[in-house]
Subunit: 140 residues, 2 copies
Amino acid sequence: MSDDFAERIRSSGKRMTPQRELILRAVDTLGHATPEQLLAEVHKQSSAVNLSTVYRNLEVLEELGLVRHMHLGDRAPTYHSVGGPEHFHLICRGCEKVISVGPEAVEQFAARLQADFDFVPDIGHLTVFGSCADCRDAAT
Amino acid sequence: MSDDFAERIRSSGKRMTPQRELILRAVDTLGHATPEQLLAEVHKQSSAVNLSTVYRNLEVLEELGLVRHMHLGDRAPTYHSVGGPEHFHLICRGCEKVISVGPEAVEQFAARLQADFDFVPDIGHLTVFGSCADCRDAAT
DNA sequence: TTCCATGCAAACACTTTGCACCGTG
DNA sequence: CACGGTGCAAAGTGTTTGCATGGAA
């Protein structure tokens, strides 16, 4: 798996460095994480990585389509790896829970946007804010 | 209209100041604007408003439900007034065009999220990134 | 041996906060 | 005349960049 990544990186003229691999692995491990959190995760293995390296790599990895980011809060961008099929996220404002949802649930919606507005949505980047059942109950 | 707002503001223990009114009006005038752009708009009328006042007021106005914000780019939050019916936005990554869409187009999608995940989406905050017809053509 | 990648520190963009003064209600 | 609002400047966050050095291909 990492080897696939390594190959893909090299074939784009980039190089595979230890830092890059650590960061990639951290994205994979954490699921959804901010640059800062990724740095912390990486530091568990090796303290020899700088925050700016994290940023630079996330940028590169995103260009190559190996990771994606979304916005959890208004402040924090969070990165996740692009492993399986495309999916999008539901985020509960109450508990910050993240629910990953497969593409089936949006297909119809996407089709409608395309038909009505000639607009092709980027499903992988889609983040829907709202409230989950637990938090609605709690609020009552 | 501004009077309704003024009333609503006062009844929450807040006060109606000239700055607050100018900012509210600017949000209304500009449609979708960043704090900085709002300041610029306000300055057309009166230079006596500070950026931090803009921030503080947007916070208050959002609490009161008079304005909302969304995220156009990854960096800039943009505010718009809550005037008519609820709507959400499509944003083209290519040209940054913003398309406002009424709630009909999402109803079905929203219903599905609620049925399948017990999740109630916040339609007014929804922002869908993607690409518009023009930009897709250009890319080809 | 060539460039891409890295560390470090400084620069940046955006937002928040402390404090003294001002003005609405 | 009490208390919320404002301006100003300084301090935070989070992210980006310039430069010299290091290392993958």
